[in-house]
């Protein structure tokens, strides 16, 4: 199945704007984003901590609905999902 992953802000600089990823059946959100982020170590480290958990400020959206990062390790992606991954921007 095909799933769209969009990155924003700093994540976009490191991992690209929009990636169409091929996902196997029963892939979780967490697994999919790891798979996509692995191409750039800095990008991966910006999203995941040393234990492979989402960093606490990362925001995940699925088809314009928020997903709790704690649920992302259990929730399964579906064909055609549009996933957005972004950090809060902080400067003023």
């Amino acid at each position: 199945m095909k799933v769209k992953v969009r990155f924003f802000a700093r994540f976009r600089e490191l991992l690209g704007t929009e990636i169409i990823a091929e996902a196997a059946d029963r892939t979780t959100f967490s697994e999919l984003i790891k798979q996509v982020a692995q191409k750039n170590t800095e990008g991966y480290d910006a999203i995941f901590d040393e234990h492979g958990h989402f960093r606490e400020y990362v925001i995940l959206m699925r088809n314009a609905k928020r997903i709790d990062t704690a649920d992302a390790v259990r929730s399964i992606v579906a064909d055609g999902d549009d996933i957005a991954v972004f950090p809060p921007v902080a400067g003023g």
């Binding site: 924003f8 802000a9 700093r10 976009r12 600089e13 704007t17 606490e56 400020y57 925001i59 959206m61 314009a64 609905k65 928020r66 957005a84 972004f86 950090p87 809060p88 921007v89 902080a90 400067g91 003023g92």
Partner: protein, 248 residues
């Protein structure tokens, strides 16, 4: 009512919203937290639009490295208090409004008093600790919070209406780590102008506000997008009284 000078100054916008709209702006009081990159365009545009009272708060002095984006401050202002510089410029650009410039640090102990009877708060800060304080006080006073933030060529903005929309703590439950962020002045200009537009629409009671939507701007790609947001019923700031009680 308006003087001849005011009528002439606001003529082109009174074509849009008339005496009645201009009066709504004139009687309004907006609190601008920070007169740096975002606070500069926000306060300038609110001043020239004729928002009657602007309270601007900042604790810093103007530094050379501010001048690529903080357009309210000039080279000759280096070393001066930002509030002093801001008051002078805003008064010079529109002598018909009232400027309250307060040189202090926004903290939990003083934020409610600083905001006072303002009709809305503009978040032009550079850190989430203070942003959360502004969010708390906006919820408590039931006044809107106009959020904006920038990094490099990226920016984000949203408008928070207490009891109606997602608040800052619903959207950003955890703050990102503190860092010296890269920024180019034009990004502060884009986001600050979005925030100022939101303030004017709110005061004029016109248009659709940027509520329950996070506007994301990518200047490098010249692309604006938005992401829908919802209230978090378990939010420790704006959730049910029961949830809020647990926080205390």
């Amino acid at each position: 009512m308006f003087s001849e000078r005011e009528r002439e100054r606001y003529k082109r916008q009174m074509m849009l919203f008339g005496d009645e709209g201009q009066q709504l702006l004139k009687k309004a009081h907006i609190f601008v937290a920070g007169v740096g990159g975002l606070g500069s365009p926000v306060s300038l545009y609110l001043a020239v639009a004729g928002v009657g009272t602007l309270t601007v708060v900042d604790r810093d002095e103007v530094d050379q490295s501010n001048l690529n984006r903080q357009i309210l401050h000039f080279n000759c202002d280096i070393g001066r208090k930002k509030t002093e510089s801001a008051e002078e410029k805003l008064h010079a650009i529109n002598p018909d409004i009232r400027i309250r410039a307060i040189d202090t640090t926004i903290e939990e102990e003083n934020v409610a008093d600083l905001v006072g009877d303002a009709d809305g708060i503009v978040d032009a800060m550079d850190n989430y600790l203070t942003r959360y304080l502004l969010n708390d006080v906006a919820i408590k006073k039931k006044i809107p919070l106009f959020h904006g933030a920038v990094c490099g060529f990226y920016g984000q903005a949203t408008t928070i209406i207490p009891e109606q929309t997602a608040c800052l703590a619903c959207i950003f439950q955890k703050a990102p780590p503190k860092e010296v962020f890269p920024v180019v002045g034009v990004t502060s200009g884009v986001i600050g102008t979005v925030q100022a537009t939101e303030v004017l629409k709110y005061l004029l009671k016109r248009g659709d506000l940027l509520t329950n939507r996070l506007f994301l701007w990518d200047g490098m790609q010249a692309r604006g997008e938005e992401i829908s947001m919802e209230r978090n019923p378990g939010c420790v700031v704006c959730g049910s009284w029961e949830t809020r009680g647990k926080r205390l």
